[in-house]
Amino acid sequence: MHDNTLSLFAGIGALLLLASVIGRLLKWRAGPGPHAVIDNLNARINAWWVMVLVIGIAFLFGKYGVIVLFYGVSFYALREFMTLTPTRRSDYPALVAAFYVALPVQYVLIAMDWYGMFSIFIPVYLFLLLPILASFGGDTTRFLERASKVQWGLMIAVYCVSSVPALMTLDIPGYEGRNLLLIAWLILVVQISDVLQYVCGKLFGKHKVAPNLSPSKTVEGLAGGVALATLIGALLCWITPFNFWQAALMALAVNAMGFFGGLVMSAIKRDRGVKDWGHMIEGHGGMLDRMDSVCFAAPVFFHFVRYWWA
């Protein structure tokens, strides 16, 4: 593992330790008995320890570790998405193709480094194949709606998520052998932006930014969170192929995409009448609740890096 990776994880560990201490202090000050916000905060921090540990283990195994990790992320995200979007009996073949063909093939293509195929496999081939499979069922009820849902789920949960490990396939001159750090930078900046938006919103939040879509998001949280996360992204330019200002602009771009991703995914949840996508991450909700911003940030980041640096 690269020296930079170790110092990065040490830094994250220190940050989490600080967060845990603050969380325990808040709990101690609030006294015994349940306190919804503080208990949720502590559950979130604990879950972060686990998530950082899992990512760290995947990094130990390098490229294939990261591919397997995000294969799992995609699987859980796709499962949450398809569970929440109603389909009909004749969508079964399309769903089988999504879970058992599209998902593994996409990750195999990334492991094979086959950019020409993994970048169009789902948006072109599956886009055409899935409605063909659905049409065999002979059921026309809400046909377009159903076909769109399966395609949309695959795009978000598989295609977009797979853009993260796809960063391993980029050959960036002068950055050979360090692509893992690019993944670490992307996840760190996007997730810390979520965290800081949450913290700034809880501390200073007054004006709701999109009351219909996501009642917990505020202008103050958005501005403070994105500004701080962009600064952190820029200060971490030493682990990236970017200079300070390039890193700042990239961080701003992924943070903006991440924020809008949160809004879009929130709109879907509201429409389906649920607060969370799932329950697998204590305090956070489901996999998609944690990944919504990454889903929107990763593909844009991948193509920006590929266009300008690789």
């Binding site: 699987f75 499962r79 949450e80 109603p86 079964y92 769903l95 879970f99």
Partner: protein, 207 residues
């Protein structure tokens, strides 16, 4: 030994594939004699309900299953008798005129809990629930002390649609409702309607 191992593999697989989340909304998983009655849309229904009970309750909770499907010699027979300890009933009234519910009544008299599907057969239509057959009423009338717990099994019909071999890994939720009893001077139809409504109330609202 083989039966225990098979039970372990089956319950683990069922939970792994479906994420089976049990929501105890109207009661807690206590070791009292109960009749869990649920919607029936897949062969996997009772396996999932059985798997989602805590170990201590599971060993006393026996699924009621159709003899016509399960008594084919071989794996089915082993599963239903040795693994699930099921109670088999003849869904078609036989010529002998015996009470088809008798094995179920015997099991309840022994103190066993049951997993029961009052629709009688799998619901493959678009309606969320088919009309209940009278079995639930007769059981409630014969053993009024038994708690009748409605359990809505959500999504399993999408995990394993009829006639498909490969399950889809979608998430299933089991909602356990409030225990109910047959009320004094309640007619059969009124009771079945009330039970059916109690079960439907647990179903997630769909857009």
């Amino acid at each position: 030994m083989l039966a225990n191992l098979t039970a372990y593999v089956i319950t683990s697989a069922a939970r792994l594939i479906t994420g089976a989340r049990a929501l105890w909304l109207g009661c807690t998983p206590e070791p009292v004699q109960r009749l869990y009655f649920a919607n029936h849309s897949s062969h996997g229904d009772f396996v999932l309900l059985w798997a989602s009970l805590p170990q201590a309750l599971r060993s006393r909770a026996r699924p009621v299953a159709g003899a016509d499907y399960w008594t084919k010699p071989g794996i089915r027979d082993f599963l239903i008798r040795q693994v699930f300890n099921g109670v088999l009933i003849n869904r078609q009234r036989d010529e002998g005129g015996g009470n088809p519910l008798q094995p179920v009544l015997d099991a309840v008299a022994q103190g066993d809990s049951l997993i029961f599907f009052p629709e009688g057969t799998r619901n493959l239509g678009d309606e969320p629930l088919m009309p209940f057959r009278s079995g639930l009423y007769h059981l409630a009338a014969a053993h009024p002390q038994v708690e009748l717990v409605p359990v809505w099994i959500a999504n399993l019909n999408r995990v394993m649609p009829k006639g498909r071999a490969l399950p889809l890994p979608l998430l299933c939720t089991l909602s356990f409702g409030e225990p109910m009893h047959l009320q004094a001077d309640e007619t059969k139809q009124a009771f079945l309607d009330r039970a059916s409504q109690a079960l439907l109330n647990l179903a997630p609202k769909d857009a």
